[in-house]
Amino acid sequence: MSFVYGAQNAWDMLSDEQSQKHITTGSGDLNHILGGGIHCKEVTEIGGVPGVGKTQLGIQLAINVQIPVEYGGLGGKAVYIDTEGSFMVERVYQIAEGCISDILEHFPHSHDKSSSGQKQLQPEHFLADIYYFRICSYTEQIAAINYLEKFLGEHKDVRIVIIDSVTFHFRQDFDDLALRTRVLSGLSLKLMKIAKAYNLAVVLLNQVTTKFTEGSFQLALALGDSWSHSCTNRLILYWNGNDRYAHLDKSPSLPVASAPYAVTGKGVRDAVSPNHKRVRVA
């Protein structure tokens, strides 16, 4: 009954989707508006003003994707493409420790388990399973994304690719905006293809810009109208007074919604306890 080779019907896709695990963000409220966490096979764009926690969330996801299967995680590895140089490895170590202490809190009996399970739960182990690429120009960025397909073919246990940020080099050095649009839309299709083919989540961090609409300047994500179509889901992080909020702005399957979250010493968590709040430096 196939009209086209390789095409799947919606029923089979539904059962595939239902068996998928999602990557937790560390915050239950955030997971809730995202339908359980960051989804594999989709491209999720996360945008927000500087300092709101984009990179923190990026690092958190690179750690959380590694939570072993027996503790409810995906047990995968992460690719982190850093274009801005904001990947602070000491912080990654802290977040890994925070993640491990939360796992041990939720699974108090895991101490009884064999030493091999315990060996996995070391921050060093989490750090070793992040493949980090430092990108210093847009040429390198294009090359890295083109190389990813081969790299992922050789590292099938990678379940998340994070690009922090997709914007930086494309905002600085490009004069020909029409060319930029073409290059970016080509890159976005490649990332879509990778997400689908290797069953992994692609997370793109994006900066904000001001946009003149209806007589006033408003904050919008960078790279223009054309780029805004290049993701499956879009999450916007923003300040509401002194609280951090996330707003799900685009999703094919979930309603638009907002939720508060916090960035603590251990990483991204629910915004419950007031002592987790950081006073915003204006």
């Binding site: 009209f3 799947q8 919606a10 539904l14 989709e42 060319l179 003149f212 805004s228 499956t232």
Partner: protein
């Protein structure tokens, strides 16, 4: 306009039709496929017409994919035929489709249950397409299997072809110094219109919007694509709500410029 039988040589080279035959063909075959979104169906005089290429355009997150998912679900739930869904942005959501089908009564007013939902969902076929060459490949395969009468899905034929979104496949290749991109775009247009016409398909594509200067936006893909769709619909969504506005930019049968508000059910 042509019959769904194997076209003979005479058919290929200029079998002419008179007006009465055309009218008969329209009343018998050119049915309207409902989108299930009440406002849009009203605006389009009943839905997406078979044999036509309909384009939905709008800013990011305005509801274009929702129109596609609703149309696919409605056509399948009402057992009108098979839906072919070409997805370029990993946004075909089977759980969303299941929810829509679950809330849709069939032709007899019954709601689908259990195994019925399975049958309905099996008649929506999805394929990911990530570049223009893959699109040519898929359309070519589709044309071959549609022309070959033996290959049909238990008697029911494809009646709706959705491409969400056509513009993300075309954006990397058009513009710049090289004319090849543009000619590939026109080839896609010709193939889609040929499929729609010869196999009585309704084709639904989505297009994104680009800046037209002064903060205004316009549909992407430029002037030569503008002539391609029979129907052009622009939709927008109010900030943080599920109330959308649809406007007819172009329609071969109805007056353009009419606007309607509709709600995307959650």
């Amino acid at each position: 306009m042509m019959s769904q039988d194997q076209p003979s040589t005479e058919d290929r080279c200029g079998r002419f039709w008179n007006g009465m035959e055309l009218l008969k063909d329209v009343t018998e075959k050119k049915h309207l496929l409902p989108t299930g979104l009440e406002g849009i169906d009203t605006l389009l005089g009943g839905g997406l017409r078979r044999g036509h290429l309909t384009e939905v355009t709008g800013p990011s997150s305005s509801g274009k994919t929702q129109v596609c998912l609703h149309s696919a679900s409605l056509v399948a739930a009402k057992h009108l035929g098979v839906v072919m869904y070409l997805d370029t942005s990993n946004s075909f959501s089977p759980s969303r489709v299941a929810t829509i089908i679950d809330g849709t009564p069939d032709l007899f007013g019954h709601k689908a249950k259990g195994c019925e939902i399975e049958d309905v969902m099996r008649s929506i076929i999805c394929e990911s397409v990530f570049d223009i060459f893959a699109l040519f490949e898929v359309l070519n395969q589709l044309e071959i299997s549609l022309s070959n009468d033996k290959v049909n899905n238990g008697g029911s034929k494809i009646c709706l072809l959705i491409i969400d979104s056509i513009s993300s496949l075309l954006a990397p290749i058009i513009g710049g110094k090289y004319p090849q991109g543009r000619s590939m775009m026109i080839s896609v247009a010709m193939i889609l219109k040929k499929l729609a016409d010869e196999h009585n398909l309704s084709v639904l594509v989505t297009n994104h919007m680009v800046s037209a200067g002064n903060g205004a936006v316009k549909p992407a893909l430029g002037e030569s694509w503008k002539a391609v769709p029979h129907v052009r619909l622009v939709i927008s969504r109010e900030c943080r709500s599920n109330i959308c506005t649809a406007t007819v930019l172009k329609h071969t049968l109805l007056a353009s410029g009419s606007t309607v508000k509709f709600t995307v059910p959650s």
